[in-house]
Symmetry: C2
Subunit: 373 residues, 2 copies
């Protein structure tokens, strides 16, 4: 029940066991094209799609490294670990104006506008900040980016396919996701959508050679479609299968299901007196893919997560400065109602065992009401 | 029968179908450590090993990007497509002194020494130039690099595990391989060994963020061992299985077997009057992992490779300027005697059909003598 790498359905795992094919063959090109067509629907975009072999961070690296050279300015808006990664990447290649809010606190949009008014080539943010369970205002910042002519980069790694994410409607010029989140397949592929505006803004030479978005888009437009460097062919088999599986359920239906599961987790937490870690306001909200909660009073991270793990349920802890202070339950991909109920029931048992809950049942009951209203 | 991605054994394919585990878990750490221990034996090195999710090119990018900044000089010694890639990568990050020999022609070592005498931070070469089927003199250039204090980078992607490759004995500071060649697993992992000399020479900030070797080595030294960014977990399952499979056969036994298979291909080619593409001298040799031959007189690439493909045998053509002029037969990984014999028999049939061979059998017979002397 961690927020990625998520559980993977047997049919997707088995797809990886298919015999190898040449990555320059027509057969590979057909798979690649099929994936990109479905991914456009998944991203709600008409933009071009590049698929890079690597983690989601490679996608962030490709976006920033393509746009930001030594004399270019990137505004980063952050309230968690992955937002701060944009700042680190930007600082490696060019100038960064970091708008760093406390982890788990909403953005102040007036400060974002001020930073853009001062002039910036691009602005980057994380939509669903996995480290704190917060959904940040992509639509609002998209409007500001458009108004000030900045290229808008959004890390949608733990968001796209889980939370509502409207690439084109929100004006997201570069949207990024990873394979091991809402697509419910193993990690190893970074998927990046790139608008014409972003393509025009790419520097002649990207910062990185392997992560060169122009090279990826050029190879993808060949016939048969291909990648500039040897791709992880088996992961493309898995991607195709995972996309078909998601399309069979329906991309929107999957998102709705995930929203319901997260709603059940939140209802249970409230019933159990567990506080949420992030603060929300009118522009930001709780994540439907990962719920971040404070460790209940009288318990430790070790007792809570360690106790649950012994019962066969793995949830995540906090990272860096909030390590030991929070725990996180992921609800994305092929996560089921049964998975959620088992997790919540185990959480209650462990809390009761440690004296942090006098009577079990209220969390599961509250969750049940959300799942079967 | 292409020189990678190669055929993959069912047990390695099936390893990828294992359920997902967390990449920060002790379970992953054990797999990662096991792989690195076996890889040291595979590379014949005591150096540290980094495993990056990406193609072999990412390994080249990490090596050059870690060492070569704007004011640093890289000497590249090239005689094929992949050598030239080192030049391209180097030019993106710093200064390059390219020693470009004609594709398939041996290096002139006196020119290498001259370039090193003029001063260079690093020198890069491809050991087994896949594009032309030539093995370049790593030992000799290693001696020159040592003499002149340059960091020695060798692309061993299609070589390590197929041709003799002595990382430590030859003084290779950074050796690179890819998963889809002699390891006989699917593509998607770049494996890099890094000497203490290379570590000391790494710049404070690498050119790329995702490809930062320092970050990779730092994470690998943690307990449990991990990667800085989410790795392709399924490919690590495959890597472990592929390494165990190779270790069961014996790394040296596998190399000897591959040498015999390549010897059979070369014997058949000679018997059929087919010319080899590369020129060799006392410091360079024919590759045991890929044999590059000129298209026989009276035939076209299309008729030769197209005809063979119709019979179910896929061999590679030439790349870039030698496209249509050569064809290449790969013999690496789990390639068998039966695979080679079927390939040669098919080649004879197609040549005979196109009038380029009066009587079939001599190639297969010559190959047979090599395989069963």
């Amino acid at each position: 029940m961690i927020p990625g790498p998520v559980m993977v359905a047997p049919r997707v795992l088995q797809a990886m066991a298919r015999p190898m094919i040449s990555h320059r063959s027509g057969e590979f090109g057909i798979i690649f094209d099929d994936c990109r067509t479905l991914l456009k629907e998944f991203f709600e975009t008409k933009n071009q799609i590049a698929i890079l072999t690597g983690s989601g961070t490679l996608g962030m690296d490709a976006a920033v490294g393509g746009l930001i050279g030594k004399d270019d300015t990137l505004v980063t808006v952050t309230n968690g670990k992955f937002g701060e990664r944009f700042t680190e990447i930007g600082e490696r290649y060019g100038k960064v104006v970091p708008l760093a809010f406390d982890w788990g606190k909403p953005f102040d949009l007036s400060r974002v506008e001020e930073a853009l008014e001062a002039g910036a080539k691009a602005i980057a943010m994380v939509h669903n900040e996995t480290s704190v369970g917060l959904v940040n205002p992509a639509k609002e910042i998209g409007n500001l980016a458009k108004k000030h002519g900045a290229v808008f980069i959004v890390d949608g790694i733990s968001s796209i396919g889980g939370n509502e994410f409207k690439t084109d409607e929100w004006g997201v010029d570069i949207a990024i996701t990873g394979s091991q989140k809402c697509l419910a397949m193993p990690p190893g592929l970074a998927i990046v959508s790139v608008s014409d505006k972003a393509i025009s803004a790419l520097n002649a030479k990207s910062a990185g050679y392997y992560s060169d978005l122009k090279a990826h888009l050029k190879s993808a437009s060949k016939s048969p479609a291909q990648t500039p460097f040897t791709p992880a062919v088996s992961l493309f088999f898995a991607l195709q299968e995972a996309l078909h599986m998601a399309a069979e359920e329906g991309f929107v239906a999957r998102r709705d299901r995930v929203a319901k599961l997260a709603g059940a987790v939140r209802a249970a937490a409230s019933a159990l007196g567990i506080e949420f870690f992030p603060e929300i306001n009118e522009h930001s909200g709780y994540s439907n893919t990962v719920t971040a909660m404070k460790i209940p009073k009288g318990m430790t991270d070790d007792k809570l997560r360690g106790g649950m793990k012994k019962q066969g349920v793995v949830v995540s802890g906090g990272q860096e400065t909030i390590k030991g202070k929070i725990f996180r339950i992921g609800t994305m991909g092929v996560c089921s109602e049964a998975d959620v109920m088992k997790t919540l029931e185990t959480l209650e048992q462990i809390m009761a065992k440690e004296g942090a809950l006098s009577k079990t049942g209220s969390g599961v009951e509250a969750a049940s009401k959300v799942l079967r209203p």
